[in-house]
Symmetry: C2
Subunit: 453 residues, 2 copies
């Protein structure tokens, strides 16, 4: 009993401010452009979709943004989340490396997503909004916004990518439990959805399409706004609470990570754990390796183009400069639904373009193998998205073993897989396959990138 | 930010000993009898099923039993578990009562069951055992023993009540993830199972039948022992860690519960939270109301007989004096699979017979209504079993409102419902029905109680 397993912070040490990487980037990000005029957008351009407070957070260069007390009060239902040392996994891998993970699966919805869902619901409710629309892939985001909506009396309508809707019925049940409505996308509720269905009634859906549907409804209906679970700057801001806590917890542990790993779909759990550490480095602190792990079948960072693109399929969103496979790219229906996005958060893309982070891509079978090994030693069953981070951490630990290096590895276990057990069933039954990267599809989608002046 | 939401203990304040209610009962319990001779059993009678250390714990009168270091080390993966004040629910109910819940869903398997699973796996591994058999209802116990087995390199074979096996495929996936084998019961692997199937090939199964199958295999196969997830004294002992932590957490909170509530199937989560408080009362402390809540369709404590009975259908287990509906009683297939047991833990039965605790029964529809209201305010979706405790706590809070009393209510939220979302789907779809109590079936089963000399 000499060594600790968990590093917990008391409630009074939960961060009082979110951290904003914008204040520390060595070069400014490319501006967000209006989809019609191709001119930089101002707050007014975004106001049909978001309340003013969130628009201000999207654009601010302030290093710290105070977490409102009602948001903090709700965070305390599950935060600070634990930092756990994976001692049994280290022993099984026979590695000199130390492996820590920050576990965000303790939230009511089972992932990191409530960190921003609660904040977004709060600011919308404060602005008098009554209804929110959103999209979801695997359902982690949709159920998180449903949870947050239930606390602020907001009606929440979730467009879920159809292939995930069919794979994960329990996620819909969770959204219903929180009082939200969940609709498979593409749907016939929107022009964007109807246009897709007219071409292909069996379209499996994509996050890009679901975003179009949610944005269209929010822009159309009075008293309705839109909420996005990743990609945007204010989402990365809210998720910084993860890394800020981890920094304090490493102080408790008397340790410091050499390598920080997160999986990336839109980039929010990765940014959440990594950016506070990266910011410290940019302000003169030590350099750490920061690794984004993505699915080989949707390899935005490793094979995408860093260019202006739309966030959605119907081209209703502003243009942002990001790593993209093209907004019409439809990845195969692999199980990590939260990683099936054609683009990447602009801040994460910017960090990669500046050489501040690394990126790598994995096929899903190896990720599930790693996750099962992790579960048998540490007990927690990772969400399919997080299996990529687990695999990344285990590969680094094995490299440390080969090289005889006692490095300290931190990864973000951003959610549990309780609602994704069909993926594990398919894995055990040999029905899970590595998904080929559709290079031709991406090339075709990239050929349609908007041409800027 | 003046009031706390969660009361967390640091790792060093996790209990070092389990608490044994046997030391404080004002009257001794009726002895356990051999099924053949009807004479009190000795350790040798139990040794085909359990290692000596667990048999000693089953029979000990010592007040405190030290928690072995390897067990404590594993507990620390999720323990101490949080005590949470349900402030939002209190406000929604507009009650002067304070509602706290101890949340055991933070364990890897999602319930309190690993508290004893880890201990049982440890003692078996220490005794050189290689394989464990067990039964499970909803699957909370089976997946917990699977988790514990994975940590001590034990092969685990789980007989799951068929109706639950069919209702909850994700639980089986969880057991497979931990490396265990899960078999629907009745099965053709045992004589007990084959006998039942010969009469009714579509038998929905029961915990009593599944116990028979698991016991039969353990008694037959070399190097194989049996593990039970509830009912037995040593299980109640291991679960005392819940209440011991809660007592320390109430000190932190500067509060003290007037009412303690748990749901009861075999009684282990109820005993876990209640017995440390009850023991303090029996040693001269204040009296509290302690309420066991059970399903109206399997009302062991409220409508059963306090008599000697078998723990299983095939009459392979010793005879214990307990509240029972008769070992051949098969409750309807309602969703709280963990509460579908014909008997009750002898210590819980003894406490009820001495008037130390109360019991009440609820129909499931009202329980799910309460659970959905709870989830919309507190975020956590309760396991179907725990919906009974939630309903009990809410009813007491409403009584306090009527009576204008600011009582402090504690209930055990012993598991989350992530693997039980089909129950919520059925509830929302109007497919869930209140199950009638089969009084005639119980009468017939009780007519077959063993006749003792």
């Amino acid at each position: 009993m000499t060594e600790s397993t968990k590093y917990l912070l008391s409630e009074d040490r939960m961060p009082r401010d979110w951290y904003n990487i914008m204040a520390d980037f060595p070069e400014p990000m490319a501006p967000v452009l209006h989809p019609g005029t191709h001119q930089p957008v101002g707050p007014a351009d975004l106001s049909p979709l978001f309340p003013d407070t969130l628009i201000a957070q999207e654009m601010t260069g302030e290093r710290h943004v105070e977490i409102p007390t009602p948001v903090r009060d709700i965070y305390l239902l599950w935060r600070p989340s634990p930092l756990i040392r994976a001692r049994r996994l280290e022993k099984a891998l026979d590695t000199p490396a130390k492996i820590y993970f920050k576990y965000e699966g303790v939230s009511p919805a089972g992932s990191h997503k409530p960190n921003t869902a609660v904040a977004q619901a709060y600011y919308n409710a404060e602005a008098g909004i009554k209804r929110l629309t959103t999209e979801t892939g695997a359902g982690q985001w949709g159920s998180s916004l449903a949870f947050a909506g239930s606390l602020f009396d907001l009606q929440v309508k979730v467009f879920q990518v159809r292939v995930s809707y069919q794979q994960k019925p329990y996620r819909q049940a969770l959204m219903r439990t929180y009082g939200a409505e969940c609709i498979p996308s593409p749907s016939d509720l929107t022009e964007s959805g109807r246009a897709i269905l007219a071409e292909n009634p069996d379209h499996p859906g994509s996050l890009g399409i679901a975003i179009s549907e949610a944005v269209e409804l929010a822009a159309r209906d009075e008293g309705t706004k839109y909420a996005l679970g990743s990609v945007l700057n204010h989402v990365m801001l809210h998720q910084s609470v993860i890394g800020l806590e981890a920094m304090e917890q490493f102080e408790l542990a008397g340790d410091d990570p050499d390598i920080i790993i997160g999986c990336t779909g839109g980039g929010s759990n990765f940014a959440g754990i990594a950016f506070p550490f990266l910011g410290a480095q940019l302000r003169g602190g030590r350099r750490r390796r920061i690794i984004a792990v993505e699915p080989a079948a949707c390899p935005t960072l490793t094979r995408g183009r860093f260019a202006y693109d739309f966030g959605d399929t119907a081209h209703l969103t502003p243009l942002t400069k990001m790593h993209t496979l093209g907004s019409s790219f439809t990845p195969p229906g692999f199980h990590a639904g939260g990683l099936r996005y054609h683009g990447m958060g602009p801040q994460v893309s910017h960090a990669l373009s500046l050489g501040l982070i690394e990126a790598r891509a994995y096929q899903q079978l190896g990720c599930f193998e790693a996750a099962v090994e992790f579960a048998r030693h540490e007990g927690i069953v990772p969400a399919p998205e997080c299996t990529h981070a687990v695999k990344g951490a285990m590969d680094e630990a094995l490299r440390c073993k080969e090289e005889g290096k006692a490095e300290t590895i931190l990864f973000n276990l951003s959610g549990h897989g309780h609602f994704d057990m069909q993926a594990y069933i398919d894995f055990f039954d040999g029905k899970l396959e590595d998904g080929d990267y559709d290079a031709a599809g991406a090339e075709a989608a990239l050929a349609q990138l908007p041409q800027l002046g």
